[in-house]
């Protein structure tokens, strides 16, 4: 039997560690924890965890730095924890290689969902590149430029297609505004968030049941967007 996935928690608050250890243990994960950045980096190297949950405010060093250092030699998915108005911080950490984030206080279901996505993503990244992306109800044929939603073909403009395929290729993971803009419109346009608002709005009209209450293209306030397939 395969071993249960190992999760490394890096957080200096004992209450959070205690609660998360209990909850994650109950969800059949193996959990190890570190209360400083340095200890966390050491454990990440020696224990090769499957997922790292990293609090951005640590006593000894900046969480973004921890993220950066781990990324130098490891591709282990990193989920960061941060407070409500730490948007700049979160974006910086995501740019430095973090895979996802959660805003404290968070809902446990949400955390478990993020861990599942991270585990799946790390497994998927080993596999070869597909030309057909299946994400939830959507199927995107990159080679033939065909998008079907519930087996019905959608008419998309080329920009819409580029945007949607980029989001769907990273299903359930948050993508920053800048990352998306750079990918779809190029680096020099990466500040023009208004493009995204317009195109996401158009896409929602085409793929969402109720464009005003989107279930597929989710806004991450102040951070970016994600294409949601689970939860």
């Amino acid at each position: 039997m395969e071993k249960n996935p190992l999760i490394l928690l890096i957080d200096d608050e004992p209450q959070i560690l205690r609660a998360l250890k209990t909850i994650l243990g109950a969800a059949h994960y193996r959990v190890i924890s570190a209360s400083t950045g340095e200890e966390g980096i050491a454990l990440a190297a020696s224990q090769s965890p499957d997922v790292i949950i990293l609090d951005l405010s640590l006593p000894d060093m900046d969480g973004i730095q921890v993220c950066e250092q781990i990324r130098e030699w490891s591709t282990t998915p990193i989920i960061i924890l941060s407070v409500r108005d730490g948007e700049r911080e979160k974006v910086a950490a995501l740019d430095k290689g973090a895979d996802d984030y959660l805003t404290k206080p968070f809902n446990i279901d949400e955390l478990l969902a993020r861990i599942r996505v991270a585990l799946r993503h790390s497994a998927a990244s080993i596999g070869n590149k597909e030309t057909i992306i299946k994400a939830g109800r959507l199927s995107i044929d990159l080679a033939r430029h065909i998008v079907t939603l519930d087996d019905e073909e959608l008419r998309l403009t080329s920009t819409e297609f580029k945007l949607l395929s980029y989001l769907a290729a990273h299903a359930d993971r948050v993508l920053t505004h800048q990352g998306i803009l750079t990918h779809v419109w190029g680096f020099e346009e990466s500040d023009h968030i208004e493009y995204l608002r317009v195109y996401i709005g158009q896409l929602r009209k085409k793929i969402e049941k109720d464009p005003d209450n989107p279930e597929l293209l989710i806004t991450d306030p102040g951070i970016g967007y994600r294409y949601k397939t689970e939860g």
């Binding site: 108005d85 206080p105 403009t157 419109w185 493009y195 608002r197 005003d212 209450n213 306030p221 102040g222």
Partner: protein, 496 residues
């Protein structure tokens, strides 16, 4: 105004002018022939003196008098064509003429001089008045320097002015150069220290191409400099007074905040503690419905605590002036709908009804802060509006601004109280029936103002309205449209 230059110009025109006028009069008298009596001729010769004095001033007037005297003597007093005088009668006429000429030109010249000085004074006074009015209400040192520099150049026509304020603990040192494009060539032609009775406030450096300044100019300039120094001093005083006032205010606020907050933090904590300890208790066997209820209480009260902590944090930032919104192009509908989604449980008895056109423009705002605003507004509606009444949210574009209105069925607020509901710790219901720190609306106001907008409340015939007005431009610009649309590469969009 260049007085020196004026005077030399007067002489340059006046000397040949007086020659010409005296010549003309002589010619006219000569043509008139010998019928004229000598006294009449003397009288007529006074005319060119008057004219010259009036036109070109005292010195030219005296010159004209002298010329007239010579011409009179030479042409009209026997023996003709010499300056000699034989008859006693003629001599007396000539002497009287000379005295009258000098006295008349003196008198007129003095009157003119006095008038000119008065005009100059009036001009100076006007310039001073303009300067002082321009300074009125200015509390920004940079603006004061700018005003002073522009007025100096405007008044004296100097080439360049540079004003440097003295180092101040609040404002630091400010420098202003006018005209901004001109090139500095050190050293300057004149520098003046600006000082008040208390201390030195700065320095004025001047560049000009004339040699010296007249007495009047120097006087006016130093008056300008003094006024400038006073204005700078006033600005500094205003600044430090402001700092003191802010400190005092924040002190007062902190005290009432502590009182209010410790109470507000305790009530959700009490609910959480009660629920959690009940669940742990072994003495009671909970039915599953009751368990659910207790768990829901813990979850909801934790959210309430989180909102409160968020508000406290925002409040301290607003107070410290540290609320720095990340203004990005955002869809207001999306923000509000997101908030509605998160508050679904609390909004159970207050359905939200939308009236926002599909093509409502993007509004430059901070997404997360605006979420806090609508969370607070909705939570206010829930507190005050009766159950099973709707919250109506509408959006309109009015005069290049976005107007967002949130109407609910809460009771009207007395008109004179409408402004105060956005003040910290203000609650219109005196009774403690309704929970809350009285922070929510004041945070809305703080955030909306940081987002360059306005928020106010109105009593409507059919409810109570919060209105938010926000600009539709970001740094003076409208949202850009992606290039591929401009290039026309985008295929026609048929689906919507």
């Amino acid at each position: 105004m260049n007085y020196t230059r004026d005077r030399s110009l007067q002489l340059a025109i006046g000397i040949p002018g007086s020659l010409a006028i005296v010549g003309l009069v002589t010619l006219a008298l000569k043509l008139a022939g010998s019928e004229l009596q000598i006294q009449l001729i003397a009288l007529l010769y006074l005319l060119p003196i008057l004219v010259c004095t009036v036109l070109w001033g005292l010195s030219v007037g005296i010159l004209a008098g002298f010329l007239s005297f010579l011409a009179f003597n030479y042409y009209f007093i026997q023996p003709y064509y010499t300056l000699a005088v034989h008859r006693t009668q003629d001599l007396i006429t000539l002497i009287v003429f000379f005295i009258v000429a000098v006295v008349v030109s003196q008198l007129i010249g003095q009157a003119r001089q006095a008038e000119r000085v008065a005009k100059k004074r009036e001009l100076e006074a006007m310039r001073m008045y303009e300067l002082i009015s321009a300074f009125a209400g200015l509390t920004d040192v940079e603006l004061i320097l700018k005003t002073l520099a522009e007025k100096i150049v405007d008044t004296f026509h100097f080439d360049q002015v540079e004003i440097t304020s003295a180092v101040d603990q609040n404002a630091g040192q400010v420098k202003y150069h006018f005209p901004a494009s001109s090139i500095l060539v050190e050293p300057c032609d004149l520098s003046m220290t600006m000082f008040t009775a208390r201390s030195t406030q700065g320095e004025i450096k001047l560049w000009f191409d004339q040699n010296t300044l007249s007495l009047e100019e120097t006087r006016l300039l130093s008056a300008f400099s003094n006024q400038g120094a006073l204005a700078i001093e006033r600005a500094h005083l205003f600044e430090s007074e402001n700092v003191a006032r802010v400190l005092e205010e924040s002190d007062r606020v902190k005290t009432s905040l502590l009182n209010s907050v410790s109470h507000e933090l305790r009530s959700p904590l009490a609910a959480i503690k009660a629920s959690a300890s009940s669940l742990r208790s072994r003495t009671v066997e909970w039915e599953s419905a009751a368990r659910e209820e207790l768990i829901a209480t813990i979850d909801e009260e934790a959210d309430a605590l989180n909102l409160l902590v968020g508000n406290l944090l925002d409040m301290s930032r607003i107070d410290a002036g540290a609320l720095k919104p990340m203004l990005r192009w955002n869809s207001i509908q999306e923000i509000i709908k997101g908030v509605e989604g998160k508050m679904r449980n609390q909004l159970h008895h207050h359905p939200v009804v939308y009236d926002i056109p599909a093509d409502f423009p993007l509004v430059p705002t901070d997404y997360v802060m605006m979420e806090q605003v609508f969370t607070n507004l909705f939570s206010n509606c829930i507190k005050y509006a009766p159950h099973e009444t709707s919250i109506n949210v509408s959006g309109r574009k009015i005069e290049e601004r976005a107007l967002i209105t949130v109407v609910n069925q809460s009771p009207p607020v007395p008109e004179e109280q409408l402004d105060f509901i956005f003040t910290k710790f203000h609650r219109i219901t005196a009774a403690d029936k309704i929970t809350g720190t009285g922070l929510g609306l004041s945070i809305c106001k703080g955030i909306i103002e940081a987002n360059k907008g306005k928020i106010w409340a109105e009593n409507l015939p059919d409810g109570f309205a919060f209105r938010i007005s926000l600009p539709l431009t970001l740094e003076g610009e409208l949202p850009r449209t992606p290039k591929d649309e401009i290039d026309g590469k985008k295929p026609p969009d048929t689906s919507d």
